[in-house]
Each structure stands twice: as C-alpha cells, then as structure tokens.
Symmetry: C2
Subunit: 268 residues, 2 copies
C-alpha cells in the first residue's frame, strides 16, 4: 500500500533523463530521502538529449516500481520523456503538488547551451513552468560508474538551503558540479549561462542493408572563454555553477531594436 504523505514533510518529486537504473539517480535519492516524502517518477529507458520533448502521438505506460529499492520512497517508471514524467507526476501520480522538483544527478554537463538539449533540465524547467521550485543537478562526468559522492554532498547543501529559505516559485536552478583535477571543489558560484554551441561532425554509418546513416558527434565551443561570471568559467575554476533559469526565452534587450527595424507595422 502506498505510503501516506506526511503533512509536515515537504513533498519532493525526483526525476532524471538517464532512467531508473542510473547511479546518479540512486545518489540523489539517498540525498533526498531524509528531507521529505519522496516520489521518483523516471523514464523507463535513458532519454538523454530529449530536451523539453513531450509524447503527443501515443499513450505512455506507467509502472509502479517500489521494488527498485527497499528505501522509503515511491518509484514509478514511465515509457516517455522526462517532461512526460513530471506532467504525469503532478497531474496523476502524486497526492498533491510537490514542494520541490529535483532532476538528476545527470551523468555529464548541462552547463552553457547543453541546457537546451538536456532531458534533465527539460524536466526541471517543467517543474518551474508549473510554479514549483525546481533544481536540475549534473556532474561533469559522463561515466556511468562516476563517483557521485561530492555531487551528492553539494546537492544536499543546495536542496536543504532551498527547502529552508525558498526562492521565487517558478524559478529553477541549473546546478553543475565540476570534477577538478586536484579533487577540491572550491565553493558555489551563482552564474549566468555561457554563450556557446556544438559543431557537429556526423559519423557516417552503414546498417545491415547497406543504408547510410549519420550519427551525431560534436565538439562544444565556448564563445566566452575565461569570461568571469559565466557557468563554464566557474566550473573551470573548480566552483559549482548555479544558474537561475526559467522557461522565458524573451530577449528583452532586443525588443526596442526590433521596433526600430520597422517590424511594428500598424497595417500590413
């Protein structure tokens, strides 16, 4: 029988994009279990690169996977995207609106422009769109067997701060944890998103029928190398980078200029 939500404990939704078996998820669950009533609602399969995608053309299936752990939390897997998980959790699976959405801990960076491709951050931003305080957590190590102990300690610090002090509902934190050469994380810095892009070198493949395909392979380019206050800069210096983000894409500083371009015609 499902656990009841305790009214004096915060209700925490945990999700990710690496799926139910990911070590980063296990590390995050260990962090949040003492902090509230925890529901994990995660993709049944890894969904890296799914961004804010939603499943619109077919139903998704939900499985209760309490057996995933003997720990004191619920776990559901969903045959959909990370954002599907958050939508189902909020609208169907949880006993009430959660107090916090935490997504991760992702295996790999979601700093700079990586945020926009990231299923981890797509899920976190979906929490924010729903007016819920949200945190996306990522470790700069793609190895499935990466050591999450430092990232877990930092997640614990940040999640406790947010639960104790809060911030504007609808805000999301994009938290990236470096892996410094000397193993020493220097602290936490509030940053802005670094300008950058990926240039792709698609690898040509041949399938069993001799049909040619293209496999995405790329290189990240930092357009602001060494610029203080950017998340990539903080990470290079050995700091955890915390970027406040939400779903508003408006470039306010460009609005006036566009009006100058005579786009604002009164008649066509």
């Amino acid at each position: 029988m499902p656990l009841q939500t305790m009214p004096d404990k915060p209700l925490i939704l945990v999700t990710n994009d690496d799926g139910a078996g990911a070590n980063g998820l296990k590390a995050l669950l260990e962090v949040v279990r003492p902090l509230g009533t925890v529901y994990a609602v995660v993709p049944a399969e890894p969904h890296s690169g799914m961004s804010h995608a939603i499943t619109v053309s077919r139903p998704v299936r939900v499985n209760y996977r309490r057996d995933l752990s003997e720990g004191d939390y619920h776990c559901y897997t969903v045959t959909g995207t990370p954002v599907d998980c958050v939508k189902l959790a909020i609208n169907r699976l949880l006993p009430r609106r959660p107090d916090l959405v935490v997504s991760g801990i992702n295996h790999g960076s979601n700093a700079s422009v990586n945020l926009i491709y990231s299923g981890t951050m797509g899920a976190a931003l979906e929490g924010a769109v729903n007016g819920i305080r949200s945190i996306g957590l990522s470790l700069l190590n793609y190895d499935p067997e990466a050591d999450f102990s430092a990232a877990a300690r930092i997640s614990d610090t940040i999640i406790r701060q947010v639960l104790a002090n809060g911030y504007r509902p609808g805000l999301c934190l994009n938290v990236n944890v470096p892996v410094p050469d000397d193993g020493t994380i220097k602290g936490i810095r509030v940053c802005r998103q670094t300008k950058g892009y990926w240039s792709e070198e698609f690898e040509e493949t041949l399938d069993e029928n001799g049909e040619k395909g293209y496999l995405l392979r790329g290189f990240y380019h930092n357009l602001e190398p060494g610029v203080a206050g950017t998340d990539e800069w903080a990470l290079e210096q050995g700091f955890v980078a915390v970027v406040p983000v939400d779903a508003d894409h408006t470039r306010y500083d460009d609005m006036e200029h566009l009006r100058d371009l005579n786009m604002d015609l009164s008649e066509l």
Copy 2:
C-alpha cells in the same frame, strides 16, 4: 545535379516539425523561393512536441527528395528531429552556412510557453545557437487543411525585412499569426513571452493487450490574461506577435537574490 548557390542570393534553410507533407511547409516554400537559394531539410515524419530534442543513440538517415516539388529548391528529409535537421543541414548538406533559418509555418500556436515544447521553435533556436538569424513561424490553426494565405503574406513581409535590415546574429524571432474572427489582421507587435502553463488531463487508454496507458491531453492557462505587451495579448487583439528569443535561459533579475540566499558559499 544539385543547383549551385548563387553568391549574390541569400542562402535560406527551411525546416519544420510537421514533416515534408505539411501544407504550412509548402506555403513557406512558396514565400522564400523568390528570395534566395533555398534548401528545405525537414523531418521525414511529423515531430510535434519534440522541442530541442536531438537523436543521440542511433544514426539518422537522409533522403534527397528533389521530387517533392518541381520548384527551384532542394529538399531533404531526415529520419530525426527538427534540431537534427538543422544540425545536418549546417554541418553536412548545405554548401555554406545559411544566411537565414526559417522554420514552419507551424500548424498551431507557439506563443507563450508553447515555445518550449515546439519542434518548430527548437529548430529555429538551433539556427540562433549557431549564430544564424532565425525565424519560427506559426499559425493559430491546428487544422492540417488550414488557410495559410494570410500567414504566408506576413511571413513574406517579415522575412524580406530581416533579409534587408538584419538583426543581431544569434537572435531568433518567434512569430505567431492569429486567426481573427473577422479575418482582419491588425498589424505586427513586438512582444514578450506570456507566462502560462498547460494543465494536463491524461486520457486513460487500453491497448490490445489490456495494458493501461495515458494519452497527453491538456488545457493552456494564461497567467497574465489581458496584460499589454505579452504575445497572447497581441494575438487576442488581432495582431501578429513577434517575440525576440534566444537560447539563454538565465534569469538575470534573480541572480542577486540567490546570492542573498547564501548560495554563494566560498567553502563547502
């Protein structure tokens, strides 16, 4: 044999998320064909709701589909997402970097928070991330047989303006065209993205094996009804809404406040 790019003509990349057969794509191609050398690189199948998703776990296939039209443009279909199309176009298929990326014309609104789920806008933003002027175009009519004539006229006006006068490379316009009751579009307004969200009422389904599923069905909620300067407001008034956007999610106005929350620890 492929057409050669004429050096005096702008190179225009056209994409969408509704696939090669969509009427909105055909309408947009009619608009841009006289304006430059045109490459259409589009998903082989509809990809609504794909946001900024990329295909990372399998190769995508590319087909040259010159036969889609006898018009003077190239057309490729890609077995991937709208963002895959833009990445392949820029890195593999086009003779040089395009001068403009146009995505659409989408069947349905991408105003307000719809932007973040939209494959049309995902593709347009990918152009912007690559430093290319980009435009996403949407008509507030989901009907596959919708009348695109007014949207095509407005697209023509805006695209000609952008080609003639330009704006900051890396900026993207999110253009939504209303369908006023009286048929009269009043003009164009430069706006900001409206705050809003979708509340979901998942429809329960049963497949042939009796397995339960959830099909995404929702309602849009405008959190700023009637607020002047928002894109939803402009559209309700019968104006085309133009929102300048890019991929930067940073909430600059929240950075100071987060520092106050003692997140900016020098030591853990």
